[in-house]
Each structure stands twice: as structure tokens, then as C-alpha cells.
């Protein structure tokens, strides 16, 4: 489909199907290919901003097993190149969440506190080091999801722990999405929420596939092996 780029966002926003009320409420309402096609309606400068979001997701700190230092280096690189406040908010919150989870895992593994600092005199890093032995680093007020995450993590329920993180992000971006209607910010908020639904559903699909294979193997034993 050939489309003419336009600064107006009415057509693009109206062409995007509604996302489910909850991130775990169903499948993604629009495929990645169709979404990419719709985004061709954007002007080149706006397309650059959405490309940054897409790029961030494609090489998200959580998606790769990077060290904290690598995550922080990438954070600074992205913050330097991002002009949109919403994209910066996305990078900031995701990086903080990633570092917090990394600190949490270190704590549970009985390791020493992390040495990273996101910025000079970083209050979060300071708080974590100072309250290393306090449950959830005394961050319950600022990061309420951490307590729920810890409960699931300690119980070995990784899907539940992942759900807590996704839920927190979903609620944050749903609030942001409510502030905008036919603007670039509305498009960014849509993309971020779409990505959450996509990740959750694909994760479930993967888990479902694994469960199915286990079930087949349990039932058929050696006959389950491919011929």
C-alpha cells in the first residue's frame, strides 16, 4: 500500500486497532508487518523517533544477557540520541527496572552489592548499597512492584514474576496513553503497549509450545521422537 507521509496523526492513530484492556487479555490486534506499514504514514522526523523505539525494543537490555556496565553504556548512548521526552522516559524506566532486577538477583545469589551508577551520585545506586540487607532495598515506596516480584521470584514462579513487571509497565503506559489522542506521543504510547502485549503473548506461545512437546513426550515416550 502506498501512502503519503503527513504531519497529522489523525489517520495513523485512527487506523490502529484498540489494544486489549489488559496486556494478558488476548492476542496482539495487529501484526508487526501491518503495524510497520501503517507507520509509513509518519513524516521522516517522526519515523526516526518511532524507529528509535523499535530499535530499543529490538536490542532491549532485557532481551540480551548484558552486564550492568553494558546496559548503562547503552543507556547513555540512547539518551544522547533521543529527542522525544517519551522515548527518554521509556529508556530511563526500562534501564532502571533492568538494573534493579539485576541488583535483586545479585542479592538473592548472595553476591556483594553492585557498583554501578547510572549518573554521578545516583540516589538509586546509593540506596541499594546502603540498604543491601533490607528487604527490597527499602524501595517499597518508590517501586511497589518489587515486593510482589520478590514473592513470585522467591517461590520460583518466574512467569508470575514476569507478569508483575509487565503489569507495572502496562499500567504506567496506559496512564501515559490516556493523556494523548492524535499526537506522536499517542503513537509512541501505542507502540510501547503493543510491544508489551506482543512479548507477553509470544512468551506464552513459547511456553505453550514447550508444554505441548513435554506432554507429547510424556504420552508417547520414544514414539514421540521425530521419524
Amino acid at each position: 500500500m502506498s501512502v503519503t507521509p503527513s504531519r497529522s496523526y489523525y489517520m495513523l492513530v485512527a487506523s490502529l486497532p484498540a489494544l486489549p484492556v489488559r496486556f494478558d487479555g488476548g492476542r496482539v490486534p495487529i501484526s508487526r508487518a501491518t503495524l510497520r506499514e501503517r507507520l509509513e504514514l509518519l513524516e521522516p522526523e517522526d519515523a526516526e523517533v518511532t524507529a528509535q523505539v523499535a530499535q530499543y525494543f529490538s536490542r532491549s537490555p532485557e532481551s540480551l544477557d548484558k552486564t550492568d556496565e553494558q546496559v548503562i553504556a547503552r543507556y547513555h548512548e540512547l539518551m544522547r540520541t533521543s529527542r522525544s521526552d517519551l522515548v527518554r522516559h521509556l529508556i530511563e524506566t526500562r534501564t532502571v527496572s533492568r538494573l534493579l532486577l539485576s541488583a535483586f538477583r545479585r542479592h538473592r545469589a548472595g553476591l556483594a552489592p553492585p557498583t554501578w551508577e547510572l549518573r554521578p551520585a545516583d540516589p538509586l545506586a546509593e540506596q541499594i548499597r546502603k540498604h543491601w540487607s533490607t528487604p527490597n532495598f527499602g524501595l517499597r515506596g518508590s517501586y511497589r512492584w518489587l515486593e510482589d516480584f520478590a514473592k513470585h521470584y522467591d517461590a520460583g514462579d518466574m512467569v508470575g514474576a514476569q507478569r508483575v513487571i509487565f503489569e507495572e509497565r502496562w499500567n504506567d503506559w496506559t496512564k501515559i496513553a490516556q493523556r494523548y489522542t492524535f499526537t506522536l506521543e499517542a503513537v509512541i504510547a501505542y507502540l510501547v503497549r503493543w510491544e508489551i502485549v506482543d512479548r507477553w503473548t509470544s512468551q506464552n506461545a513459547e511456553a505453550g509450545k514447550a508444554r505441548f512437546h513435554n506432554l507429547v513426550e510424556e504420552t508417547l515416550g520414544e514414539y514421540a521422537k521425530p521419524v
Partner: protein, 153 residues
Amino acid sequence: MGDTFWLMLGWAGIYAPLFLGALGSIFGCSAAGQAACGAMLDVESGYGRLVGLSALPSSQTIYGIVVMLTLNRQVTIETAPGLFAIGVLSGVALLYSAWFQGKCCASAIHATKNKPEIFGLSAAPAAIVEGFAVFAFIFALIVAAGLPAGGAG
């Protein structure tokens, strides 16, 4: 700056309701029309009512034409200030009502695309904005009746 300036303002006042009303309709219909086109990419039926909703802000141009015809008379130094004031102020009201009605229509189209059953209700904000345009229109006509006739139009 003498009589010519005031006469020019008088003429501007006569044409202003149509000019500003049409400008508002352009903005409003454009916004709602684009939303309708976007929505049509995502729905399989009900295209007609989406396009119909996007045409709602065109009524302000019609109101502008009527006010312009009512104001149309010989422009003199006595009639010019009144023509300017009524024409421009009613025109500004028509412009904004059409423009923002277009935004209401775009939102209604977006909402009704996902929930067709709320079509009527979602158009209510646009209808309310239309009501304000009607006020501006009616009272422009009433106030214009008090202007000096200024001879044949």
C-alpha cells in the same frame, strides 16, 4: 487612515463569517476525514457513517454564508464598525466551533470504530459543539437586524 480604512473593515466584516467559517470547516473536516480514512483501514463495514460523521463540521460554512448574506448591505461610515464587529466575532466563533467539532468527530470515529454500539453517543460531544455554533449564528442574525440598513445591498 481615513474613511477608506473603515469602509475596508466594513467589507471585511461582511465577508468574515464565510471566510472564517469555511476555514474552520476545512480544519474540522480535514481532521475528522483523516480519522475516518484511518478507521476505514481497520474496519470491514460501516464506512458510510464514518464519512458522514467527518462531514459534520461543514455546517459552519453554511451558517457563515447566511450571516454574510444578512450583513450584506451598502458599506458606509455608519454601518462599517457594526458590520466588522458582528462579522468578525461570529466568524471567529464559527471557525473555532468547526475546528474543535472536527476533533470531536475524529475522537468519535476512533471510538466508534472499536465499539460500533456507541456510535450515537460518541457523536454527542460534536452535537454539543454544533449547538454553540448555532447560538453564534442566530444571535449574529438578531444583532445584525439592529444595524443601519445603509441603502440597497
